[in-house]
Symmetry: C2
Subunit: 406 residues, 2 copies
């Protein structure tokens, strides 16, 4: 069994959320999403966690109550009836509901909560008093989750070890004619044996990721709906991204952008391999991706704005004459250099315009400079880093450099 | 490359949705979810499909435009700016917006669309005229998707073949001491090699499924948040369902409830295996699960109400003295016998109370009678069936009966 989240850990998370809630004039948070529930209680059972701006949180559980009682670091109560939920909350948290002339403001994660469920919950919470607004608290919870504890970083490092081992074992099978799908299947088998939960959780609507993006040559360079620097041909119109059935050839880049999820925490890493050698211009572009990640490493520290790291990378790519190829090609370019990772693969902050709040210790970032050459392939590198007090520390463990295969 | 959806197929789907829209007084449907987009256009690129109650649908695509143009059976337009979207729609679909004294009713899938995105889209669609309501159309699209075409059934049959092959290859590795995770990893490897997209799509909020539920003995009988008859111990509090690291032992049931997704379509199948033999009472319960599925087969035909099939199964389980063990144990029982499958694993109808609309040809159902014995295990069977003009036809292909291993 995986190590359970410690009570002090959960208490610190709840306290940080409560501090943000008080600042934003939110009287309580109704946590609805399973990943947020796990983060805030230590348990992923079905129900709602109610966190008042001051006072103790309660996890109202539909099922399984037994498991929630074992797992949760906050008090567990059965959620017997949604119709009685408002009365139950008023009774358990009188300070939230009483004496508010301007009404009660309860936050939830409106970035993920379906509109129909939102409408139902808003009605339930308003009750007959009709004094309660259900407002968007997704930015609050994303800001809290953005900063990882040492306990969380240790989980991410476990995932980093698993991906490095899986990559090391799997590159050995690469030969001309092996299909992308055969290689991906092998990597997925290796990470699964080592405890990968079998999926990579994402937060964005319609965003899917299996274990990453593995593609070779022209197939890797095909654009897709996926909001990442490499799309990939995919398995057909019903899964039009990432790995395809294309056979891997000689002297074309093999992009191996893979992650895994161990004990709930995700790692993200990219390496580029080739059978034989890369054409000079692609080899040069790969070298540029390493140069850009070196520059990012030098600027990642508390106080740096994420958007400035992205701007620097754009300039570096342009200076190298690779502006059109950076992070996708032409109109299919994506507008970021990296992203937060943790329980989900698309966490905050993003290394992109609009992310001006300075980095702080505990943030974990996947940085993924890549260059796309339509009809030829994608080259690049991706490491994940922890922002420390003084700078950053790399969490991904696979050796860098092009992986040259005979 | 997978076979593309034919144009006539898409046209028929759009026509069926339009018929329902007209009946329900909906003037247009804004399709937002990637799976629904694939169903309604043949393409899963990012954007929105706008389907007027009469007239031609248009797929407004953000990215990748190139791929949407190749894949989509409905007309593709670039979606340049959300701010200009209302004007673009008015210009392309004047009949939807003009001369409506009571306002324009546009439907979307509010069962999956996040509340924050809903609010933004409602504002965009209302425009300055503020004459437009964004209403819930999820039941319309779920009703259309519920009835499969022969083309879709052929895809589901492809998935059924893959699962049967993977199971046949994988049971050969089962021996005392093999962990559930090792067995699951092998099955997943086999289905992936054969084209599984790497995930099983679900529609319900917070509902996750890897490739199913594989569990042995006591671990399989642990309840979970998952809305299925067997929960499973899982890999820890961050993935508290399905497969665990427990070693498989002798004379305990091994529940192998697995699916896969080929060209977007899902199959769902369960078999029960054992090393040695099962204790008499568990063997008897397994036999009851086959008896219940035989009874369901006899009643599955156009005209039968799904809820009556569930009621019959409850009675049959009670008559066998197994009421407390049926579809989970005690307070952790789930309240259904089966569910629709297709592009998602949790489709309509459900064989459960409240589903009174009679079955019709083209519905595909996974029927999964199971019995849970806390501390001992779960036994059962699951087949998937197509409702035909005369009755039903089984789509799953693995031989029935307990899988007895030496």
């Amino acid at each position: 069994m995986a190590e359970a989240v410690r009570h002090e850990e959960i208490e610190a998370r709840v306290n940080r959320l409560q501090a943000l809630m008080s600042k934003e004039g939110v009287h309580a948070f109704l946590v609805t999403q399973h990943v947020d529930l796990y983060y805030m209680t230590g348990s992923m059972q079905a129900g709602y966690a109610f966190i008042p701006a001051t006072g103790a949180a309660v996890f109202y559980v539909r099922r399984s109550l037994e498991r929630a009682l074992q797992e949760s670091a906050v008090r567990v109560q059965p959620l017997t009836s949604l119709r009685q939920f408002r009365a139950q909350l008023e009774s358990d948290h009188p300070a939230v509901f009483s004496g508010r002339a301007d009404g009660v403001r309860i936050a939830a994660e409106l970035d993920v909560l379906p509109a129909a469920t939102y409408a139902k919950l808003a009605e339930v919470l308003a009750g007959s008093a009709n004094d309660c607004a259900l407002v968007d608290g997704s930015s609050l919870i994303r800001r809290v989750r953005m900063v990882k504890s040492p306990w969380e970083v240790a989980r991410i490092e476990d995932a980093a070890r698993v991906v490095a081992e899986a990559l090391e074992v799997s590159v050995g099978i690469i030969r001309e004619g092996l299909t992308e799908l055969e290689l991906m299947a092998r990597i997925e088998y290796e990470i699964r044996l080592r405890g990968h939960i079998g999926m990579m959780r994402t937060r964005s609507y319609n965003m899917e990721i299996t274990t990453g993006m593995l593609g070779s040559g022209a197939a890797a360079a095909v654009p897709s709906a996926f909001d990442g620097p490499a799309g990939g041909l995919g398995l057909g119109p019903a899964f039009p991204q990432s790995t395809s059935r294309k056979a891997i050839g000689r002297e074309e880049p093999i992009l191996i952008d893979i992650g895994c999820c161990i004990d709930g925490y995700i790692i993200d890493q990219t390496r580029t391999a080739v059978i034989g050698s890369l054409p000079d211009d692609l080899a040069e572009a790969y070298a540029q991706s390493e140069a850009i990640i070196r520059q990012a490493e030098a600027s990642m520290r508390p106080g740096t704005a994420p958007e400035s790291i992205y701007a620097d990378a754009l300039k570096q790519a342009a200076d190298a004459g690779l502006a059109d190829h950076f992070m996708g090609f032409g109109t299919n370019q994506v507008k970021f250099l990296g992203h937060g990772i943790g329980l989900e693969v698309d966490e905050w902050p993003v290394l992109a315009r609009g992310f001006g709040n300075p980095l702080e210790p505990g943030i974990v970032l996947a940085v993924e400079p890549k260059f796309t050459f339509p009809g030829r392939g994608v080259v690049g590198i991706e490491n994940s880093y922890l922002i420390t007090d003084a700078g950053c520390r790399q969490l991904t463990r696979s050796p860098e450099g092009l992986i040259l295969l005979p």
